[in-house]
């Protein structure tokens, strides 16, 4: 429209007419923006922390099992049945998938560990010491000693298990485990390292062995494994990647089941979607409150200018033109607030991201569904949340202008001119 520029100009100057009021309103919106982006950043940080700890430590983001393995975890239900499958070929197939970063084979068994007088039940997990570190951080949690070497009958135990067994690095541990042929396997293993994950269920119960050593103990063929753990580029994408992998592996005619961490840790997935919904609600509340504040201010502003609206109506402006300039005012206010909001938000966001605040003083952390949260205020940001919050802010200021704009179009010129 030809006179759009006029309305923009009038809107802009009107905003600066009551400088203080505009600044207060804009600051309110800017801090709302800061609050929304920061809130989402902090809780995103918390989620990423939970997901990472929930998957990176031990689970991986996607797992492959024989289709009848879960949930009983029967030791006989290995991938490819009693025959097993050629591990190299199978892992290469999985690795050939675009989204797969790394894959590691595993076997599991139950057993008793004895050292001296003490005996403890343990979950035995056979891992590939070369492949496992590409998928999980488990081996990086070895705090004393060293990781495993294959073929040397070595074992890693959690710090609490070590305490319960009253054993020490270098000691011999007797491991007894039911084997696949129905007999009892038993052998001596050397404790070469202890790990400390911070998660009691792991530190109390797990014994880590080299995959082939466990297979030998349990009289299992080297082709037989229970699990392939996989890590992918983006943990949030896991369900989709699992689906793709499932389709791909159905061609190999091995009866496998592919699960993403969201299937394996539903309580964690639940929590993630709950928190995402919660973000959304908080952002809506923040901007909803801001909307009322802005609408109120603009309503006062338009009421004060009733006479001016009447004058421009008398000069030949259609009612819609009056509404237009008020909405433009909202838009300009939104833009000013967005610029101010970005200027205060970004430095704080980047700073918090780079130096997370340590909360050890006030909290010792917690764990959800096997995922541990360290007491650190970690802030994650994506390009998304500032844009979404920016849109929210913008929408807020426009929506907040709609009612005052409508009121402005309803001003009766004759009454306003007579100050009635």
């Amino acid at each position: 429209m030809a006179h759009d520029r006029l309305w923009w100009r009038v809107a802009w100057r009107n905003l600066w007419r009551n400088r203080l009021r505009t600044l207060i309103t804009a600051s309110g919106l800017a801090f709302g923006y800061l609050g929304a982006v920061l809130m989402v950043g902090v809780s995103d940080g918390m989620l990423v922390e939970l997901i990472e700890n929930g998957t990176r430590l031990m689970l991986g983001e996607v797992q492959v099992h024989s289709e009848d393995y879960l949930p009983e975890r029967n030791m006989h239900r290995t991938i490819g049945g009693y025959e097993g499958t050629d591990l190299e070929i199978f892992l290469n197939q999985i690795n050939s998938q675009e989204d797969v970063t790394a894959a590691a084979p595993r076997a599991y068994g139950g057993g008793l560990l004895s050292s001296g007088e003490e005996t403890q039940a343990a979950l035995l997990m056979g891992i590939d010491p070369d492949r496992e570190p590409h998928v999980t951080t488990l081996l990086s949690r070895v705090v004393h000693g060293r990781p495993l070497v294959t073929g040397a009958n070595e074992i890693l135990l959690g710090s609490e298990m070590v305490e319960q067994l009253g054993t020490a690095l270098g000691d011999e541990i007797v491991v007894v485990a039911p084997s696949s042929d129905g007999s009892m396997g038993n052998d001596l293993f050397t404790l070469v390292g202890t790990f400390d994950t911070g998660i009691p269920a792991i530190d109390q119960n797990y014994g880590l062995l080299a995959l082939s050593d466990l297979q030998f103990l349990m009289a299992m063929d080297p082709a037989r494994i229970h699990e392939v753990a996989i890590t992918v580029g983006n943990a949030q994408d896991s369900p989709r990647i699992a689906e793709t992998l499932r389709e791909f592996l159905s061609d190999t005619e091995l009866p496998v089941q592919v699960s993403s961490w969201t299937d394996l840790r539903p309580e964690l997935a639940e929590m993630v979607s709950l928190m995402n919904a919660f973000h959304f609600i908080v952002v809506i509340i923040i901007f909803g409150m801001a909307a009322f504040g802005v609408a109120n201010t603009m309503l006062i502003g338009t009421f004060e200018r009733r006479r001016e609206f009447a004058v421009v109506r008398a000069l030949g402006t259609a009612p819609i033109g009056i509404g237009q300039t008020v909405v433009y005012e909202g838009i300009v206010l939104g833009m000013i607030s967005l610029v101010a909001g970005s200027l205060i938000t970004w430095p704080i966001l980047v700073w918090l991201h780079n130096s997370p605040i340590d909360l050890t003083q006030v909290s010792s952390g917690f764990s959800v569904g096997g995922a541990q949260w360290r007491p650190v205020l970690r802030v994650e940001y994506s390009i998304e949340s500032p844009i979404v919050a920016g849109l929210g802010l913008f929408l807020t200021s426009i929506l907040a202008a709609v009612y005052p704009a409508w009121k402005a179009t309803r001003v009766l010129p004759a009454d306003a001119l007579a100050d009635r």
């Binding site: 009038v10 009107n14 001016e308 109506r313 030949g316």
Partner: protein, 235 residues
């Protein structure tokens, strides 16, 4: 002579407790194109109501109004706005310039609304400012102008788009006698040079005296309507 404004049995009744106010009672008048008409009468006699109805800002309770050959009583607000933009200029007692715009921007307001290009707008406003003694004040905001200057900007704003009719509601009421006389000079000159029809209300005898036709209202009715035979162009 062509008719600029015609009202036929015009009524305005404001619903009000306890009794409705009959602000305009059955007024029929005809104002000729190019005339210079004053509407006089005491406060509350219905002058503002008449002017607002003629300008389409207030809807009559009864009766008809024509501007030129257009009957306006049935028009929508939007069409009335367009009619004002093209054919009617308004001047108010309290100037009512937009405080955020400069004198020049105020004066060019209707040209902007009509989408006249910038160069053309500036040319017309500067010419007009020169003619009515506002040269050099183009960039001042209304707050930095005297009452007389503000009212002349308001007149410039009303006439710049060359409307056929100017409605002015007590344009001199806030001005001292010198400024009033100056403003009347300006209005007369514009009336003569452009043939613009002026209809203004006043209760100042010195202003009434300079009109060519004087309509006097009392209690919403015409008490007298007379031609004044003088050719008073001072300066």
């Amino acid at each position: 002579m062509k008719t600029a404004v015609r009202t036929t049995n015009l009524w305005k009744i404001y619903p009000q407790e306890p009794d409705p106010v009959e602000a305009v009672r059955d007024i029929s008048i005809k104002i000729e194109t190019g005339d210079f008409v004053a509407m006089a009468g005491p406060s509350g006699s219905g002058k503002t109501t008449m002017l607002n109805m003629i300008g389409g800002l207030t809807r009559p309770s009864q009766g008809q109004i024509s501007i030129g050959d257009q009957e306006i009583t049935e028009m929508t607000d939007k069409d009335l706005a367009q009619l004002r933009l093209e054919h009617i200029g308004f001047v108010f007692q309290s100037y009512n310039l937009l405080p955020v715009l400069t004198a020049l921007e105020n004066a060019e307001f209707t040209l902007l609304l009509s989408g006249i290009p910038k160069d053309e707008r500036r040319k017309r406003v500067l010419e007009l400012f020169n003619k009515i003694g506002l040269s050099g004040l183009e960039d001042r905001k209304p707050g930095k102008l005297s009452g007389g200057q503000q009212q002349r900007v308001a007149v410039a704003r009303a006439v710049v788009a060359n409307p056929a009719l100017i409605l002015a509601d007590e344009p001199t009421a806030n001005l001292d006698s010198k400024a009033s006389a100056d403003l009347l000079d300006v209005m007369e000159r514009l009336n003569q040079d452009h043939g613009t029809t002026f209809l203004f209300s006043t209760h100042d005898p010195r202003v009434m005296e300079r009109s060519r036709r004087l309509i006097t209202l009392v209690d919403g009715q015409i008490e007298s309507d007379k031609r004044q035979n003088h050719l008073s162009v001072s300066s």
